[in-house]
Symmetry: C2
Subunit: 422 residues, 2 copies
């Protein structure tokens, strides 16, 4: 008979309870104990040995694998202890991996254990392990995705029900899609951690998350949604990472999270509500897209338990580690500054409806070598001002910023919103 794989679980919140439920039919896996903050809290699942000190698990010689589904940076030292005690790690902790992944992977390599983290990016969607296995022949040129379900839900509602950002945020909070303090989601932090992890494995480089440009969705108005729709776009919070050359011709990574106008012809435009999607572009595979639930008790448990079973399957055969799961790179990526990135831009401009205003905008664009792709003025507002929509061709971010500064020097013109176009 196979040896039982013995787990210690850190965190028995929604995901932790999902993991325990999903594991119940697997007789060859035993939960030795779980660490929780509050020992007396009522839970859906029963664990024979609860502790409020996670180090009890990290130091327990009976445990083979630590399953960390608590989240946050507080578990860093616990995981280091567990790794030093030769325990494999399965974690869903995107923030910890994005901030301290390098140190943890180094430590894991030194201790001949592995860290699996399928659930850290895009919940139930298999993406981490497929990149490392089936897609391992590829050299990727870009990774782009809708990696945060909360913001995608809010943007979908804004678009479908023509509601304001704040009304949709409230609705998302009522339904439990958004937290009481929604900052981590709506300001793009969650998506930033995830794109850092994806960039790390797709491009085999260490990523400095402090260099990732990040912008949330709170500036998107339903007017922007409507205007984008007229031009054939939807507005999505896109996490993007692509290879490019910097101004000196050196290879670098352009990594960022911000709202984008996405052409309705692109598959990412069809991703609705809390669904996540990851689009990879590489050679030889071309474009592949993975779509599914990005969060939730059971989808996340699917990935966590998938990782546990993967370890289990290796564990039985010889106790050695899965070579594919070992992180071998130690170089930091050369990450480009947002000012040096190239984009098309949507600009929503409020201008005095006086002769020559459109001319001034056109001249300012010309001054910075920015070509226009579309320009539209639809009638005149009640206050006699005009709303003008401009969509540019590709230009440097620094040039669009200079152009905006320039055009706003005349008191009649204000750029009310600027959104990059995918």
């Amino acid at each position: 008979m196979d040896k039982k794989l013995k787990l210690g679980i850190i965190g028995l919140g929604t995901v932790g309870q999902g993991v325990v439920k999903v594991l119940s039919p697997f007789d060859d896996i035993e939960i030795v104990g779980a660490a929780v903050k509050n020992l007396s809290k009522k839970r859906d699942v029963e664990i024979k040995c609860l502790t409020d000190n996670p180090f009890d698990l990290a130091n327990n010689v009976d445990i083979d694998v630590i399953v960390e589904v608590a989240g946050g940076l507080g578990v860093y030292d616990v995981l280091k202890t567990a790794i030093k005690n030769k325990k494999h790690i399965v974690t869903a902790n995107k923030e910890l991996l994005a901030r301290h992944g390098s140190e943890l992977f180094d430590l894991a390599r030194e201790n001949d254990v592995i860290i699996m983290y399928e659930a850290a990016v895009a919940g139930g969607i298999p993406i981490i392990y497929p990149i490392k296995s089936s897609l391992s022949a590829n050299s990727f040129s870009s990774v782009a995705g809708i990696l945060n379900g909360t913001t995608n839900y809010i943007l979908t509602k804004m678009e479908e029900d023509n509601l304001s950002y704040h009304d949709c945020l409230l609705k998302a909070q009522e339904l439990g899609y958004a937290e009481t303090d929604p900052t981590g989601d709506v300001e793009g932090y969650d998506a930033m951690y995830k794109i850092a992890i994806l960039s790390n494995i797709a491009f085999n480089k260490r990523i400095d998350i402090d260099k990732i440009y990040r912008e949330g969705i709170s500036n998107i108005s339903s007017l922007d949604m409507k205007l984008a729709d007229e031009f054939g776009y939807k507005i999505k919070l896109i996490a993007l990472s692509k290879k490019m050359n910097d101004l000196s011709g050196n290879e670098c990574l352009d990594i960022r999270v911000h709202p984008m106008l996405v052409s309705k012809n692109k598959s990412l435009a069809d991703i609705k509500n809390a669904t996540n999607a990851v689009m990879l572009d590489g050679f030889p595979v071309g474009e592949v897209m993975f779509v599914g639930a990005g969060a939730g008790e059971f989808p996340t448990a699917s990935s966590v338990v998938g990782d546990i079973l993967t370890i289990k399957s290796e564990f039985n055969s010889n106790g050695e580690i899965l070579p594919m799961t070992v992180c071998h790179h130690s170089d930091y990526a050369n990450q480009i500054n947002i000012e040096d990135t190239i984009n098309c831009y949507y600009l929503r401009i409020k201008a005095a409806n006086t002769p020559g205003t459109i001319g001034k905008i056109g001249l300012a664009c010309g001054k910075y070598n920015i070509n226009l792709s579309c320009i539209l003025q639809k009638g005149v507002n009640d206050d006699r001002s005009a709303t003008i929509i401009v969509i540019t061709e590709e230009c440097y971010e620094k040039d669009i910023n200079l152009m905006i500064k320039d055009v706003e020097q005349t008191s009649e013109v204000r750029v009310l919103n600027r959104i990059r176009v995918m």
Copy 2:
């Protein structure tokens, strides 16, 4: 230094040459030789040792892995010989796996070697290995997909350019998307092999392909396309496999390939041209979809080389086999007959435009307990006949067949097309 992994390649057609090109940067993998039909044919790639006898490779003691990208059933004995000689197999051969997979997997298990076949289903899309690894915690209820690029290209063209099936087939042949004899694609054989393989791994059962119901796309007219569009559907060739209970309450699999009306709200409706997509529904993951190129030199090579690298990565560590890739099931699925499946149906009916015709159709439906979801007659044709479109609610296939027989007994009514609805 790691030991080199030594390959023998059977077949140097489009995919075989793609594999050789994609392998070129991998210094730790050596192509010992390749077997081809025609030794003197000009090729894009150079192989030091060519043979026209694939058994030379199967019997070559220097070779660790046989990469079979020739296709067809002719290589069956070669692969058996290779397996008996303890060689791992990487194959893209859907027909062989669908017809003789069980025997090959049994033989591989006896000989402690593995068979990898990511490229056999949906080309470059990672789907086989993700089901076996990241998604291994799941119990699947259904697998559905657009698994044949040729037919999806033809259906997309019919829809977008309002052309006939035959015009679009000719166009697909001109562009190299369809073969001179297109039967394998347009009659659904290719998709049938693939859904058999997917059913096998998703449901852990052996599949008898002779029990898979199969229907091609040659009966789809551009009129059906247009009418489906009016009701909010696209028409796609869908390969489907789902768990259900048969009439005696026993669990069985409903596996089939045929055209379906797919609601525009479903993601599969958005899959265009030669793109493939696989949709899995399971617990705990929910719905996940994988989209990408289903064929072609490089996408297919991505999967073949991914499999080779997966074997290589294990091979280095200890020479043991990947437990996850071993096939353990030996039971045949209980496959349901198409007559006993439950579907909604689209019927395009030609009827004499006489009083009572719609009433007769309605009565016949009532007789077999078939509820109508939509019924539409749009004016009268030039020959005074009427085109009536009916979409039913769910009913047994045998009942819709009886109803059609019944209604056609009156000379005024002919059911010109019947398409199942997804």
